[in-house]
């Protein structure tokens, strides 16, 4: 798992907080430290000054004494006065300075100043003396002059004052110095504590930062490991995983299998539509896109969405990397990833299920084959062995003819198309017989072949290679027929080996006699046609009776043709002619229809009449269908009378059934009938009354004449 964005943010916030706190602490320490240091410097200056000052009063007293001594002995007093002046001046100056600096807030200073204010005026007359203290006379030598006496008196006053006040002043000043000393010691202690506190705070913060850094590194390592694990998972899983965002675009992480499946790497930011658009049909793409949008809605819960997933088994065609194409089956699974504000992502898991799909198909096919074989066997048990053998002979002959057609060299498109039409007719008649015998496995195979031929016909251009798949399928069909023949002989052997079979089954259990193999009498057709009629009625939900008459009269030369024609016409009647029972009831007809077949000898040879009491044929519908199939042009259609229109039914490629079923609708049918009748030198006609009946009449020449015509 990747570390969540929230954790990252929190981490950034903590880093910022620690940094800010550290800066703040250092700033405060610096600020207060600076202030304390400034105070201390002032205090120390004041202390120095106070220390110096406390010596002054005594010095002044001492200098006053010296001055008085000098004056009394009439010695030179100028130096002593000058010293006193200088001392008083310095004291006054320094005391004022301390006061003016304002750094000292102690009562002693005020008291000292008060004392000095009283002291100053007393000293003032002494230090301001500028005259000559002595007068020299011969009589008495040096004596004090008048100024000198005044000066001396002033000095004595000052001495007296000093005797009383110098000590108190000194005491005040020395106390002041002590106070200042204490203050600055306290300030120094405060500064020490401040610095200590600052250093401790910085240490604590640094420790926090270090711890935080450590945990971050641990988290990052864990995250890196998790990322690696995620990477390993994504590298190893066989499903293609990716996340889709709200714009249906792929996120930045996906599993390696995805690259392999889609043969690309540029998934980041790719939209889901872009991922699929080259690989699937536009319709599938549209459905898939709609589905993805629905996933982002909250209308359907996950199980429902899963059940309608249109990409549960997606067939895609891609390059196989060797220049060829390859079909694969992918399974897309979608899971919503929920966030606090609803759906955050859609997790998409793509699995390559090609092998399981193919396996399932194989299983299904073999199951089908097994079922088909069973069906075939059951079907065969109901078929007269003689008819079966006859059918197999005819079918094989027919298929050989198909093979011949396929081998015919062809160059032009028209020739290819002619080949296709020939092929189609042969297949159609084989299918007809197979259906009549209820050999569904054969009929469905031929039907599939017909489908392939139809597809070929629809192609704009035809070439020899288009026939290749047909040849393969044809081989398969021939193998199937051989299988049936083998099974038929085994079945016959089995039937022979069962003694005392019930009498009802007995007549059909006869083994085929060699001399009858190639010629069935038409009378044998009755059961075939009856069972075919039953099957048709059942398959198309119709009800009708089939009445057959005179089929015993059919000469052997015509038997094959008559059989083909009857099968075809019966199919047409069941599919197009006879209406559904409800429709018949609505038209006040019997629920069950009637199909009548009559064969008889007539003057010009033989006549076969096939009539059903169904819906009849609508001339308009015929013309419309022919127009739609472009068998005729609009002008031709307009100029057609009813007779000409009815003749359309015998044109090759005509059918009015829209959807193709096994029994009719391919557009072959009456044209095959007509062609075989013409081949025998006969004629075919149709008459109909809408809502009442359809009647086909086939007239064939006497059998001898026909045999020369077919030869």
């Amino acid at each position: 798992m990747m570390p969540a964005a929230g954790t990252d943010r929190r981490r950034q916030l903590v880093t910022a907080a620690i940094g800010t706190a550290l800066t703040l602490v250092m700033g405060l320490v610096l600020f207060f430290g600076f202030r304390l240091a400034t105070h201390m410097r002032a205090d120390i200056t004041a202390l120095q000054a106070a220390s110096t000052l406390q010596t002054y009063p005594e010095e002044i007293s001492h200098q006053l004494n010296t001055l008085r001594d000098r004056l009394e002995v009439r010695a030179y007093a100028g130096q002593a006065l000058a010293d006193l002046q200088s001392t008083v001046q310095r004291f006054d100056q320094e005391l004022r300075q301390i006061n003016a600096a304002g750094d000292v807030d102690a009562p002693q200073l005020g008291r000292a100043l008060l004392l000095w204010h009283q002291y100053g005026p007393v000293l003032e007359p002494v230090i301001s003396f500028t005259g000559q203290p002595y007068v020299d006379s011969d009589s008495s030598g040096s004596s004090l002059s008048r100024e000198g006496r005044a000066h001396y008196a002033a000095v004595k006053r000052a001495q007296l004052f000093a005797a009383d006040n110098a000590r108190p002043l000194q005491t005040q000043l020395s106390t002041l110095a002590q106070t200042l000393q204490r203050t600055s010691s306290a300030a120094a202690a405060r500064l020490r504590s401040l610095l200590l506190g600052g250093v401790l705070a910085a240490l604590v913060l640094a420790g926090a930062a270090a711890y935080f850094q450590f945990t971050r590194a641990r988290h990052e390592r864990a995250a890196r490991e998790a990322q690696e694990q995620t990477r390993d998972i994504l590298k190893t899983v066989r499903e293609g995983f990716f996340l889709l965002d709200a714009d249906y675009r792929i996120g930045s992480v996906w599993s390696d299998a995805l690259s392999k499946m889609f043969g690309r790497e540029d998934f980041a930011g790719l939209s889901f539509e872009e991922l699929l658009q080259e690989l699937v049909s536009p319709a599938t793409l549209a459905t898939a896109t709609k589905y993805i949008k629905l996933l982002w809605g909250d209308r359907a819960h996950e199980n429902l969405m899963k059940s309608i997933n249109p990409l549960g088994q997606l067939e895609i065609t891609m390059d196989n990397g060797h220049g060829g194409k390859e079909t694969r089956f992918l399974q897309f699974d979608f899971h919503r990833v929920m966030g606090p504000q609803g759906i955050k992502h859609v997790l998409c898991a793509v699995g390559d299920i090609t092998s399981s799909v193919l396996l399932a198909r194989e299983l299904h096919e073999s199951q089908e084959n097994a079922n088909a074989q069973l069906d075939m066997m059951l079907g065969m048990m109901h078929v007269d062995p003689l008819q079966l053998v006859s059918f197999l002979d005819t079918a094989e002959t027919g298929l050989k003819l198909v093979n011949t057609i396929l081998k015919e060299p062809a160059r032009t498109d028209a020739e290819f198309r002619k080949k296709l039409s020939g092929l189609f007719r042969e297949l159609h008649s084989i299918k007809g017989e197979a259906s009549a015998l209820n050999l569904k496995s054969v009929a469905s195979r031929v039907h599939a072949l017909e489908d392939m031929v139809s597809d070929c016909k629809k192609r704009p251009e035809l070439s020899g290679s288009d026939f290749l798949p047909l040849v393969l399928k044809l081989d398969d069909l021939l193998a199937h027929l051989r299988g049936i023949r083998e099974m038929a002989s085994r079945l016959t052997a089995l039937k022979d080996s069962v003694p005392a079979a019930p009498p009802a089954a007995a007549p059909r259990a006869e083994p085929p006699r060699p001399e009858r193999r190639n010629a069935i009498k038409v009378e044998d057709l009755t059961p075939i046609l009856q069972s075919m009629a039953e099957r048709l009625a059942q398959d198309h939900a119709k009800r009708f009776k089939l009445k057959l008459a005179g089929l015993a009269e059919v000469p052997s030369t015509y038997s094959a043709t008559i059989k083909d024609c009857l099968i075809q016409m019966l199919r047409n009647a069941a599919v197009h002619g006879i209406e559904a029972p409800e429709a018949r009831r609505a038209a006040t007809k019997d629920d069950a229809g009637l199909v009548q077949v009559e064969f008889r000898k007539v003057a010009e040879g033989y006549e076969l009449v096939f009539e059903d009491d169904g819906a009849g044929i609508s001339v308009e519908a015929l013309r419309a269908a022919a127009l739609k199939k472009q068998l005729i042009s609009e002008e031709e259609a307009a100029g057609m009378d009813n007779r000409a229109s009815m003749a359309l039914i015998f044109r090759p490629g005509f059918s009015i059934q829209e959807d193709v079923s096994m029994d009719a609708g391919r557009g072959v049918g009456m044209d095959v009938v007509a062609r075989s009748v013409y081949a025998l030198g006969g004629k075919i006609g149709v008459s109909t009354h809408p809502g009442k009946y359809t009647r086909f009449k086939i007239v064939l020449p006497p059998a001898d004449a026909a045999s020369s015509a077919v030869a």
Binding site: K290, L294, L304
Partner: protein
């Protein structure tokens, strides 16, 4: 059809749309929600639309292949009339594309025919959630 509650639950009005009479009765009989009150059944999209306007149902079960107006078109129209309507598509069409189409048009659930009573009730319960 008042607004009274059924055993303390808000009643839902149900409309069943299916062209098969048997299927309509089957759905009506099989659903076990006492708060669901059947207000009508319709055999095609047109009937459904008319009934819908008259009865204003909350829940509709909808077949897809019906004469005159098919289910998909009908869903669009019903949703346009009442966006809050809950529609359960009940169809034999196994085609996923149709299911997606129906959901896109506004259906809320999908149930394949044939279905068991349990499947039907689960689907309806999911729909009324």
């Amino acid at each position: 059809m008042g607004n009274a509650t059924v055993n303390g639950k808000r009643p839902f009005k149900l409309l069943i749309v299916d062209d098969s009479n048997i299927m309509r009765r089957r759905i009506e009989r099989s659903q076990q929600f006492e708060e669901l009150q059947l207000v009508g059944t319709a055999g095609n999209g047109f009937e459904a639309l008319e009934l819908f306007k008259k009865t204003d149902p909350d829940v509709v079960t909808m077949d897809l292949t019906m004469p005159r107006m098919d289910g998909i078109e009908c869903i669009s129209k019903l949703v346009a009339l009442k966006p809050a309507v809950r529609i359960l598509v009940i169809s034999a069409l196994a085609d996923k594309a149709t299911a997606v189409e129906a959901m896109e048009k506004g259906a809320n659930g999908f149930l394949n025919k044939p279905f068991t009573d349990r499947q039907l009730n689960e689907a309806i319960a999911e729909l009324m959630r």
